[in-house]
Amino acid sequence: MSGATAAPENPDQLDERLVRTSPLRKLLGRPELGSVVGAAAVFLFFAIVADSFLQASSFGTVLYAASVLGIMAAPVALLMIGGEFDLSAGVLVTSSALISSMFSYQMTANVWVGVLVSLLVTLAIGAFNGFVLTRTGLPSFIITLGTFLMLTGLNLGFTKLISGTVSTKAIGDMEGFESARALFASTLTLGGVEFKVTILWWAALVGVATWILLRTRFGNWIFAVGGEADAARAVGVPVIRTKIGLYLGVAFAAWISGQHLLFSYDVVQSGEGVGNELTYIIAAVIGGCLITGGYGSAIGSAVGAFIFGMTSKGIVYAEWNPDWFKFFLGAMLLLATLLNAWVRKRAEATS
């Protein structure tokens, strides 16, 4: 590799940054390529071993499972590219649903008021994560582990205190419920197959995240702070603002997921969501995000979520003993990651 400042020996030879790479090479260099190959492999595998996997209705179910995960995986992938984790993301979803439901119920307000209050509070929690992280300089692992535990306690504590039981009161008969349900939890029928609206949310979020990453200045900042925060700061990247922004993104997605939970079932269980934060990270990693930050893609997270959805439902369609479920999931994860690493190595070797 020649330094950018070195004068070319031959004036006709172009600067290497301007060299046109072939589309194939460009494709091989994409972070999500390995996961796409993995997704195709998983799809083929279940198409062969599970008879009901290829039905259109099953596809709707798989996509739904993937979308619920994918909505969270996209901002979590961005956060990981920015070099941070959020262990509170899983419980934050439940918090968001609880706040929305309890506010509407206790105030006897239109449910949209609760939905908006929930958005504000959820974003505030995300901002709190980012603020404490950037202020203290402690690892995000510790900070968000703290918020994770605090939120778990607050969820149960407040719910028991306010509604007297571990779940919220039903808000299905309140004003605005139907319109909110249409937005967050409706079912669309397409050619006789039912698709949940979360699939649209998922697609939109992945689209926006990809656009931010690849087409905006903020996207460059994310890669910069995840690659080397000090160097990024030295060249003028607003590290603090970028990281807080990333946590706000996770909080926003948690709000969408939370509202989906609430308006699907109209009652929220306060103890749920624990453990999901790892699933989001898994989806992002399968999709090609590096744990160390600075590398990854939003589309990859979507592919990761899709692999996860296919595997978790495919095992059921294949009628395998569920006792082994976690084993298969772990093996799939490991294989996908290995495949990913292998493809990337090959891609780097050829370019």
Binding site: S52, T61, A65, Q269, G271, V316, Y317
Partner: protein, 326 residues
């Protein structure tokens, strides 16, 4: 790898035991096996529960269901998830598979309502088990097999009264399980003394022990601990010993450890709801419905409990708990 394998094989060959162990278990299991007793087509029934991973109670339910499936020539599928949203998705996969019958537990009824309506609409007969006696009929299920959790709780309260207990602790190991809340509420209702609830993380046994221990240490006047699942009774016994408490440990549900505990006076009493029966009857009733359009219960839940088990009954049940069917 090879060396490890050789050592393991060598060790298992060298030391044979003539009592207990796997061989005794196999001998006991032989009695329960069998062939299909009917020549109806091979229908597929799916059971979707709210069980966590590796739960003893649901293992017994599964055993009962499998036994009935064997007899009734049923292809039996089991899946479970303790998150409401995930459980609903599993029911959806069963509908996608176009199963011939569906067995669902309704611990989180609101989350299951829509998807069960879908199953009913698709013409799949549904039987609910364990939790959800109040919602079962409304959701369109054929029948409900389980115990009325409030009634079971009330039975515990009465039993505690007859044992002269004054201050009891109710240990809930599944947050959000409505049935568990009903049990503790029922016990509180009939119990003359005071009763407190304690929430623990049921998937983390050391945490359960530590939580109960801390509670017993901080409040020495507690003279009874009621756990809501058999494995947690053992955790409570350990906690009691470390805390140096004199409290009596009582529990819902039964397993081999609880049976031995009752025999050796480590436990006061157990409230059994016969999980084996819940699995067995659910499959059998679905078969009867497919075969003969029979429905049991007449619109009311079919109760499998509560049955109070004390030291006197424990001896007779020990063999069955050991093979994992009680």
């Amino acid at each position: 790898m090879g060396a490890v394998l050789a050592v393991v094989l060598g060790a298992s060959l060298a030391g044979c035991s003539s009592t207990g162990g796997k061989r005794a278990e196999e001998r006991a299991a032989e009695a329960a096996e069998g062939r299909a007793a009917v020549n109806t087509p091979r229908w597929t029934f799916a059971m979707v529960t709210h069980s966590g991973d590796g739960d003893t109670f649901w293992d017994i339910v599964q055993k009962g269901a499998e036994q009935a499936a064997l007899k009734d020539n049923i292809n039996f599928l089991y899946s479970h998830n303790d998150e409401a949203n995930q459980q609903a998705q599993l029911v959806q996969t069963a509908i996608d598979k176009k199963v011939d019958g569906l067995i669902v537990s309704l611990a989180k009824p609101d989350a299951m309502k829509a998807v069960i309506a879908k199953a009913v609409k698709a013409g799949i007969p549904v039987v609910t088990v364990n939790s959800g006696s109040a919602e079962s009929e409304e959701f369109g299920a054929l029948t409900h097999i389980g115990q009325d959790e409030s009634v079971a709780g009330e039975a515990v309260g009465d039993e505690l009264n007859s044992r002269d207990r004054k201050k009891a602790l109710c240990v809930l190991h599944e947050q959000g399980n409505v049935g568990h809340e009903q049990r503790c509420a029922g016990a509180k209702k009939t119990f003359d003394g005071t009763m407190q609830n304690l929430y623990v993380d049921g998937t983390n046994m050391p945490d359960v022990t530590a939580s109960i221990e801390a509670k017993l240490q901080s409040d020495k006047s507690i003279d009874a601990v009621v756990t809501l699942g058999a494995p947690f009774a053992d955790a409570a016994v350990q906690a009691k010993q470390t805390a140096g408490s004199k409290a009596e440990i009582d529990t819902f549900d039964l397993n081999a450890k609880v049976a031995t505990g009752l025999q050796t006076d480590k436990l006061g009493f157990a409230v059994d709801q016969q999980p084996y029966l819940q699995g067995y009857e659910a499959v059998d009733l679905l078969w009867l419905h497919r075969y003969n359009r029979n429905v049991l219960g007449g619109g009311l839940p079919v109760l499998t409990g509560p049955q109070i088990i004390t030291k006197d009954d424990a001896d007779a049940l020990a063999d069955y708990t050991k093979r994992g069917t009680r």
